[in-house]
């Protein structure tokens, strides 16, 4: 029996073939992505998660050829990134001030518009928060209250307003611990390290937190938590951005926001 010998040239041509195939496949992929240029990048406040994921899903079910990729972050950081030419076509903030700032400084291609209103709740891992009110927070048994930084987070600012309106702000000062954003506040409360957290209703209704009750804070105690969006200068000519901004006003999109803890126009 003769041992099988594979000639070097055969191996070499095999490799060349494989390389050609891969190059061809990559080229095809490139063309495919160029031909479906119906794409936009959406920068969104992290407090919108997961409601916005569902909205984007519903949008893509209708516009099957449109691709929306979402990048979550804090509204302030995203605004700073857009001002410095981040590749975002659309910006959904957790307030109106940041979108307005983009408009004022010439980085927006549309007027800021409100798509939903946020709500504040009291939430606790150990106590039954549904039986608590803001006034109960002065109780000695509650040692640590987690809130979002009033200076940087819209939810924190509204928390301060609600506490001031109730007259407990100065009395709870020594109990306050601050999260950078509303999800961090939630983690502080969830771990039990803070007895109570003032978090967004949109987070309190999500699985994992919904098992313990919450107390909804009267929206009349604070300025409204308007959630606003703008199309950025970069997205001015993007068809997906325009279509998505129209979609946000549809009953379908509003229903998703309402089911996930936001107030919407009826």
């Amino acid at each position: 029996m003769k041992p099988r010998v594979v000639k070097p040239q055969v191996i070499k041509s095999g490799i060349t073939k494989a390389v050609r195939l891969i190059a061809l496949a990559m080229l095809a992929g490139l063309f495919a992505s160029v031909s479906s240029a119906q794409q936009m990048t959406l920068a969104a406040a992290s407090s919108l998660r997961p409601a916005l994921d569902y909205v984007v899903e519903a949008y893509q079910d209708i516009h099957t050829d449109h691709q929306v990729s979402v990048i979550y972050g804090s509204s302030g950081r995203l605004t700073a990134q857009i001002i410095n030419d981040a590749p975002f076509d659309f910006f959904m903030s957790a307030d109106m001030a940041y979108p307005q700032r983009l408009v004022d400084e010439g980085y927006a291609a549309s007027e800021p518009r409100v798509y939903a209103w946020g709500r504040l709740v009291l939430w606790s891992a150990d106590l039954d928060a549904s039986g608590l009110t803001l006034r109960d927070l002065v109780d000695g048994a509650i040692e640590r209250i987690a809130i979002a930084q009033p200076e940087i987070a819209p939810y924190g600012q509204r928390t301060r307003e609600a506490m001031q309106a109730t007259g407990i702000w100065s009395q709870v000062q020594h109990k306050l611990v601050f999260g950078e954003n509303i999800s961090q506040v939630t983690q502080m409360a969830q771990s039990g390290a803070a007895d109570v957290g003032l978090i967004a209703l949109s987070l309190a209704v999500q699985p994992g937190l919904a098992s313990t009750g919450f107390y909804l804070i009267d929206a009349a105690l604070h300025e409204p938590l308007e959630q606003g969006f703008v199309i950025t200068r970069r997205g001015a000519d993007n068809d997906v951005a325009k279509a998505f901004s129209r979609f946000l006003a549809t009953p379908a999109a509003r229903a998703i926001f309402r089911d996930n803890g936001f107030d919407v126009d009826d």
């Binding site: 700073a80 611990v177 999260g179 039990g192 390290a193």
Partner: protein
Amino acid sequence: MFELGAADWQAIQLTLRLCFLTTLILLIIATPLAWWLASGRSALRVVVQTIVALPLVLPPTVLGFYLLVALGPRGPIGATLESMGFSHLAFSFEGILLASVLYSMPFAVQPLLEAFNNLGRRPVEVASTLGAGVIDRFFTVILPMCRGGFIVAATLSFAHTVGEFGVILMLGGSIPGETKVLSVLIYDHTEAMNYASAHRLSLLLLVFSFLVLFVVYSMNRRFQVARV
């Protein structure tokens, strides 16, 4: 132009206190630990060395989250402390001090380990046969001969704690005067787009850190030259 507010001074003071204490504790812990690591090649030593380096792997805010869970009232450490009549460590200066020690540990252990490896056992053994006790051996042999290693370990621990941010943000809860350190304050300023304040504090931090590192490294260099 360079006016600092009360909140700024408070954060600066707090940061310096945290950094000094962290460095001090680290030198006390890391010296025997590094000496033990340098004195053999057993599997246990490799395991310990690996554990010491682990804080480098996790993203700081995630590490902060796990520390919050562990040190909070329902975590194993926090609950034990509470049952012994102490308070748990979440949202306290002691808590972020413990976190800083863990987080900067590799930066103290590694330079010392290298220095001890370079030193070898011989000088200590010689000193021992000449009748020097443990403490005498440390202060008259190890400390002077490994001076460079100690200086680098202290400097890196200090500098790393100054820049520590994610862990403290999560575990500390930004309480002014207690856990709101300089890095967190600067971050707050940038998030609020309060750039003038952020620039001022950052510049101060940069100049200060440059000076500290420069002085330490030039001292270290002189010692090295002097040794030759």
